[in-house]
Amino acid sequence: MKDFLEMRNIVKRFPGVVANNRVNLTIRAGEIHALLGENGAGKSTLMQILYGFHSMDSGEIRMDGKQIRLDSPKDAIALGIGMVHQEFMLVRPFTVVENTVLGMREGRGPLLDLEQASRKLQELSNRHGLALDPAARVGSLPIGVQQRVEILKLLYRDASLLILDEPTAVLTPQEKDQLFAILRKLKQDGRSVVIVTHKLKEIMECADRVTVMRDGQVVATREVRETSEHELTRLMVGRDVNLRAIKPERKPGAAVLQVKDLRVEDESGREKVCGLSLEVHAGEILGVAGVDGNGQSELAEALLHLRRIEGGQVIVNGADVTSRSVAEHRAGGISYVPADRRRVGSVPEMSVADNAILGQQRKYVRGLFRDLDEARKSAEKLTARFGIRGSGIDQGAGKLSGGNLQKLILGREILRGSAVLVVEQPTRGLDVGAVESVWQELIRARQEGKAILLISAELDELLNLADRIAVMFEGRIMGIVDAVAASVEVIGLMMAGIRPAGAANTGATMKEAPSGETV
């Protein structure tokens, strides 16, 4: 296989950090090349340079042996380089076709020929097996389908190099399999794919070669056939990471969080949580499994009263808190780590220090004024304890890498010291080292006697951390299983809405002992 694209000696500095330090990367025609590295290692930066989004400080890029200049994404697109960003950049109120032709000129004259574009899109989606309705509004599509739109957009522009920045972080296992199938097909077409991911399993499953980055430098490039997850981890983190959480034995205490017959609706008035009941005990992690969109987010939001509760009760430490406001919840017993870290969990335009007190802004006061010294001190403590890497607490939080921002939010919520911790997708987009430390922090919180509700799409995570796993399907709990005795198959079945024999009576209510049901 010949080298198709070559990046040589790429250097990119941001104020306070060298994001890429003399990076070399070659991509062959018709290969899937994985890019691996810790949060903040500089993967997105490197890919954005390749996409013409960042300018590099020095270095060169060659395509088919010829040096190319990438001043803007326009140049990149013209050369057949396309990118799907870590955070999607689709225009939500637009339809699929409109999004596809956005920024392109199709047909003659000043008017868009959406008809023709639509036809071409349909043809493309048939050829590549990407089922899609060109007239659908993007905002109403599930994440997995939105991603398909992003990929189709690249194919529409006939990209020969597709860059996917953490494409699987938001996908369900089925969607992920479909994505890999698509990528393999693209490879057979002779196109090249660069995929940024933190999941070693995925690399082993679909990539041909892998390049590992650390602190802005390339540590190694390996043939996937000739390496192992073990070696990759070592290369990436510089030590062994044993992604098996060791949970000390702990007898759960009294029920701290009780949810009874909870009913919640979404914006359009559809019932998303339908009479759900559960209990979380002190010193216990209750995992909530389920395919995204089965009411997990709505459940979490309702617990904090970020969403109206239509019926049922929320009880914390024996007190009915159903009608408490968000502020009262924040001051009182519930902490929350939301799934959307950029729009809900943080304010990217504000500094790390300001984000470190978000939700506690009324606590850091001296007299009438904000206690800025105290706030800064706690921000320093937070960054130190959770190993948040960036260029300091005065940096805009939006400039932190995804994983570091996640640690900031999680750390802030854990350190608040409330009795109940609701955590949604805590390790989405985190590198193994970071996952390990987040897991340890969650276990530590459990040891401290917090009641933790852990909502996650990662079965691995739930099996490792949770004491019990509740499986949600269409707003109801299909069953609750003991994590030690749980089998992936049974949980998978329940996630698909099939209640296996033996777990039948766990149903919607869960009044019995915390040991739950064993399958």
Binding site: E60, V326, F369
Partner: protein
């Protein structure tokens, strides 16, 4: 691949960078406007001399500049409070008018033989400020309420509310408060209710001191107080604000009240400081020019006073220019508008950095060694 101008992903936002682009924009605007003088056979140098000499280098003119700057600064401060909280309020003309009316009403009540009668200025001033603040605050607060409770569009509602306020004042000065005589205006306020003049020999009044105090208060509010933090979070991201336990609706309401109150006090400075009576057309567009001043000051409360002074001074200079060199003062408005447009347009420049050693940075082999 080093070039002379290199694009940044985020704009440089250091004070120096902002000062540099703003001044560059201003100079560019003056350069462009210079051509307009040519058709009047006037030398641009003389014209600009006239434009800036009077308002900034003569005592009398400087006094007038201060008079113009006070309401502009207060409205700009109101704009900063509301816009930083995510409330795109455009109704300051209305707040100004109701604030002027409220202050004027209190002033008339302190006339000899009126309901309150003469009271010491030290008592009168807080009372008048309170009245103007409450009037302006309530006026904007209604729009805030509509937005917070019903989700209406504050841009349209606040624009329309300006006309309502202007008509209310028209009604007042041609009906209940009308002084005997032909013009639709109120009686002259009693002397004891006038804002004191602060520079002997000029018309400059204490309004500018009120504006300076307000700038300090707004700065402290936004930078130093938890409420200001909550305003700013709300402005950046309502969803994050809700998550943080901030009652977004209530914050919007409060922000609109604070902002409108500042607009009301702007009306007070004009009524008690310079007109000394209520009249139709007292606002004359300051409610909009003040918003422009806020934009020019980059929504920074500390930059508001100098910006307002510059802007107010230029309109004083324009009149002088018209009198002396018979150059229409509208050229100054063109200059001012150009300045605003260019300052906003020059923002693009902050996305570039100048690469002084761009010749040395040839690709590949000479790539600088990075160590860190």
């Amino acid at each position: 691949m080093a070039r002379l101008f290199e694009r940044r992903l985020v704009p440089a936002d250091s004070p120096a960078a902002i000062m540099a682009t703003t001044s560059a924009a201003f100079l560019a605007a003056m350069l462009a406007a210079a051509f307009l003088f040519v058709s009047y056979d006037a030398s641009p140098f003389q014209a600009y001399y006239a434009l800036f000499h009077e308002p900034f280098a003569t005592l009398r003119g400087f006094g007038y500049s201060l008079v113009r700057a006070s309401p502009l600064a207060l409205i700009a401060l109101g704009t900063i409070v509301s816009w930083r909280s995510g409330f795109s309020y455009l109704g300051f003309e209305g707040c100004f008018v109701v604030g002027a009316a409220a202050a004027g009403w209190v002033a008339l009540l302190t006339a000899q033989g009126a309901a309150i009668g003469p009271i010491p200025f030290i008592l009168f001033l807080p009372l008048a400020i309170l009245a103007a603040y409450l009037a302006g605050g309530a006026w904007a607060g209604i729009v805030g309420l509509v937005r917070a409770r019903l989700g209406g569009n504050e841009v349209l509602i606040s624009l329309m509310s300006n006309y309502v306020a202007i008509f209310i004042l028209q009604y007042l000065v041609s009906g209940p408060l009308r002084a005997p005589g032909s013009l639709p205006e109120s009686r002259l306020f009693p002397k004891g209710s006038w804002l004191p003049f602060i520079l002997p020999g000029t018309r400059a009044h204490a309004g500018i001191l009120i504006a300076i105090a307000a700038a300090g208060i707004v700065w402290v509010l936004l930078k130093k107080m938890p409420l200001g933090y909550e305003f700013i979070v709300t402005g950046f991201s309502p969803s994050a604000a809700r998550y943080a336990g901030i009652d977004v609706g209530r914050r919007l309401l409060l922000a609109s009240f604070f902002a409108g109150g500042l607009g009301g006090v702007a009306g007070l400075t004009e009524a008690l400081g310079s007109q000394h009576r209520l009249m139709d057309g007292i606002s004359g567009g300051v409610g909009f020019v003040g918003i422009v001043v806020a934009l020019l000051a980059r929504l920074n409360p500390l930059a508001v006073i100098p910006t307002a002074l510059l802007y107010g001074g230029m309109s004083v200079g324009a009149d002088a220019m018209q009198r002396r060199a018979s150059i229409p003062s509208s050229i100054t408005f063109i200059l001012q508008s150009l300045a605003v447009l260019l300052v906003l347009a020059f923002d693009v420049l902050r996305y570039y950095k100048i690469n002084f050693d761009f010749r040395r940075g040839t690709p590949s082999s000479t790539a600088p060694q990075v160590s860190e």
